[in-house]
Symmetry: D3
Subunit: 242 residues, 6 copies
């Protein structure tokens, strides 16, 4: 089976990460993965949510939204409909949890990292691009705080990136674009740390359930792809730290 853009089954799309994209943010990147483009920016706030007051510990939270014309057909804004899109809520909770798993909350102290992921163009994989990009934006925000003398070292415990993997007619395909995604039998999102351990694994098969064997193949594919993303993230980090 040939893929739409002639990639091999386990090949990710070209990824570019441009740091310092929104100049006024504390950390900010534009991540491009094929035609998918997401701005990930970080704001450091000196407050924490009520349940963490006087705990000495910090917090990471995220919001995810799409510009109306990120999509082929215009998507109305949340405010027009009066409530946050259920899918967006699910995604922003995922981004928050993922990033919280690698930030050292004790070292961060009573501060909140507010991540904003705004999708400029959506061609599949926006949630995993958001996580992969947010990691670099968070790194940049914390690196800047080290430069300002707030911390001695960057309070990050491990690397973090994410990829989507799908199943289409029993073939396991890495990093689906929108057209592939819309016909896939099953859609997996995998979030992995530098240690190779998993933070999140979400596999949905509304169309066609998957066997244990396919599950194993999916995870192998994700593992390989995420290791490639770690290298791309590192290059972006090097561009502002060196």
């Amino acid at each position: 089976m040939d893929r739409i853009d002639n990639r091999t089954n386990d090949q990710i799309r070209p990824v570019t990460i441009t740091p310092s994209f929104q100049e006024f943010a504390d950390g900010s990147v534009l991540i491009e993965s094929g035609k998918t483009r997401v701005i990930c920016s970080v704001s450091v706030d000196d407050k924490v949510p009520p349940f963490l007051k006087n705990s000495g510990r910090g917090w990471v939270t995220a919001e995810y939204s799409m510009l109306p014309r990120a999509t082929l057909v215009r998507t109305p804004r949340d405010i027009t409909k009066g409530s946050i899109n259920g899918r967006s809520q699910e995604i922003q909770r995922l981004i928050g949890r993922s990033l919280r798993s690698v930030v050292d909350m004790n070292a961060l102290g009573e501060r909140t990292l507010q991540i904003d992921c705004d999708v400029i163009q959506a061609d599949g994989g926006t949630r995993t691009a958001s996580i992969t990009g947010s990691y670099v934006a968070v790194y940049q925000a914390l690196y800047n705080m080290v430069s300002m003398g707030v911390f001695n070292e960057i309070p990050i415990k491990d690397k973090l990136a994410a990829i989507s993997v799908g199943v289409l007619k029993d073939e396991v395909l890495c990093d689906l674009c929108y057209e592939e995604d819309s016909t896939a039998d099953c859609d997996f999102n995998v979030v992995m740390q530098g240690s190779g351990k998993f933070v999140e694994l979400q596999g949905t098969a509304e169309g066609n359930p998957y066997s244990r064997e396919i599950l194993n193949k999916i995870i192998d594919t994700a593992d390989k792809a995420i290791r490639e993303l770690f290298e791309i993230q590192q290059k972006a980090i090097d561009s502002f730290t060196k």
Copy 2:
């Protein structure tokens, strides 16, 4: 390590499914799993969402909510805060997708099954109990339609049940109660069909990422538990079909 309620690591809590719980609903059960109690009811509507009009196909959708005093500390109602709780949205989307995977939409025709899962008491595992209970409520609603001559046979393609599995200090524990859940390193929800294939797999490890090995153990545990749930569901179904 001993569990709070002396269960073995792979043991589920006692489960009771009471059919016909809300008399006015088309299908309705009360599912009790330990102290967790959820009402799952089904309403059959002769309309489908706009994207399915004139497709000849049906739809299944779900809403999930908790009574304020389902929890140890009172949870304000969504309407008081003005928006659906993000967690509830995530769960109701999961319930909808899961049930859609086993209903034969062509056989259902242009009808919508509206599932309502209302948690009366929450002691962990409410989302998986909702799925396990909703399967029986959907079965009951469709069985009644067969009795009324709407269908010749029940338009369900396979069995469906769900269980949560957690990891606590490297031990894999089945069907966490609230107290176990709140201290777990990782929380997995597994939705499986009668065929043994997976519909949904969601594993979150905000606290502590999990290895490939642990992942395999989690899935083994879930598989065994869900097969037990299939039997409990069958008994409930027998009570109104025989």
Copy 3:
């Protein structure tokens, strides 16, 4: 004229009150009146609304809601429509006022009793069942506080129960079920204390206005019914106090 369920005109439906229904609440009952079923639970909060701060006095407030399939036709949730149902608001204000009339606010001190009435099944008389049930739930919550040594005696000044009475073709009927209610000319809700004095009297006759004579008959009927409810409440209270 024969009633649907063969009751005499002044006969109430069978009433069951099950205390401790939601285990995590401070006080909780399931009240069943015919097919009508309401969970009434109480949460004690150590705060009072702003207008009572530093007054030394307490407060009682209530919320009332119906599960979507409490009714013959599914009722959409408030959050779906974006605002609390006008009827629900009216009822929850009535429940709050009624219970405030019997709680000794000075003895309660600066605490709020938050009552939640959630209708599981609605077959007429849900607002009066909510009041009758909430009295027992409030009693239970305060009794528990006496047990914990917070009070020396239960800060309740008098008994309280409520009943609906309707008029149908000049006959005065006690405790209407939904089918009777929907055809009645007039619908009365009466809330009475143990002293036989009235706390609330609400009579609506959209269809057919009522004379002074009928009004007197309605009140006689309500008086008799509420005295029966006092006994049923007492039995439920005895079950957890003795």
Copy 4:
């Protein structure tokens, strides 16, 4: 006991009804009762709510709102808080039900009378003034339709007016102003038709319950006051019909 404004216990405040107050409305009055001032306007719509489609019958509905500075302390607008005030909802439902009891829905045909009651100044008794004023505004709207040849005769079945009566230290006082109302033990609203029959009776005694004897006295007082209001309404009606 002397009343604040030297009225006798059963004396209403001076009432003025100015028809045609909002020129662009189909019917409109300004009703003044002491310092209480309410604009009641009626809009005729050629549609009915869904449940009346193809029934041949009409509908009457009402909205009630207060200008922010109708009150001694500014009341924030509903839109600022994001939801209709519970008290306003209760009142607008009462106004709607009351007016529906006297309009002949069959003669009205498939039309909706939308009543808007906007309180310019609130000094007690705004809900009863709204009902008394709305009757005249509805009369004016329907009278105009007769003039335009839509109806042969005005589709109103009977007169309608309303008054509040309160109890303060065992004295029954008619038509409470705000200061009296805020200290009263009990507050009654009575809506009566020209026949002397009752449409609505709402008595609330949060502070101090009332006996059967007091109830009778309240109704005597209301009856007398409403008969006076019928005359004042008639004079206003005469001013535009003769």
Copy 5:
């Protein structure tokens, strides 16, 4: 070209300003300009918005709303649609800015003047009538504070009034009524101080753009009209200050 009501092109409609209209407000007027009628009331609050805390300076803010039947066709309330009308927001921001330009915020001290403009009848020019009326209402509120000894002199720096001017087939027309406004090529709102300097100038020409020459004529017309309004305002002020 003759105007609908036979005015000359630069003639304003008859204007009446009735002070003390809402008795409970700190300052209040009813302004009538032709058939346009607006209640402008002022509430003095001893708080300021967060950004002015501890600044020693005050604030002026405004809300603008229309009664549903101010208009020829009933306009639904904002709360029914769930959000403030965009046009209303624009207008209330304009009123707030305009009044802030003449109040001496240092002399006012940490207080907020909350202006409420409620349109009873809308026949064009409601936003300019709101500004012209609010000036008098603010004056009255501050005058009362001088009387109470809060200030030694009224903290107002200059006079303020506003007028609308339109262009219709190259003719510049002053103070458009609704019928003129709805067919105009261009609509200008001018807010001017006693000094003859401008505070706000808003000219919209959706239909037909205007030349520099027409712009000059518009401003000449507005200038003359506003000077007439200053005199009318003064007479209203004299009525409560002398």
Copy 6:
């Protein structure tokens, strides 16, 4: 007086317009004016609002929003606060009116052009940049429709661009950046067509009112700047039409 970035008083910031920025939109540009960056995209819809049905005429409408970190301090999203920012509403109404003045609605036919202006970075002048950019995006969308044979010629009647002009200590400054804007006495937005005629003129002087003389100077400055913008727009248009 020297300007922050050494511009002369009547000099605009460097402007770049990148067409086809959001690939999936019907027309789309990124406009950069100094550090201000706005994405303007156009969606063509084959429907018109109700008031234009069966009129044969089209419509243009706009939405304006800012990404949270477009600003120095993070701005919460509208959906978080539950209502569209008043300032945004004002701006999107301005953008809509401005563009409607140059599109030939009869030639457009019953279609709606939905413009989305999303501010990526805000350094002053975002509303005027939105108008200037939207003109090119609308041009691109309509040009594409000509290419597809929908129209014979582009249904645009004239050029359109906008600029802000401010007054600071009696000096008239063109195209204020955020820092200049926040200290300016007065802020003018001018929207002009190719004919040199004005579509919108909005001048606000909360701090310090402006004289007739200054007004003239402001308009001279705007006129010159907008003519420069016409040329920049033309170059962008040439890039996709030639």
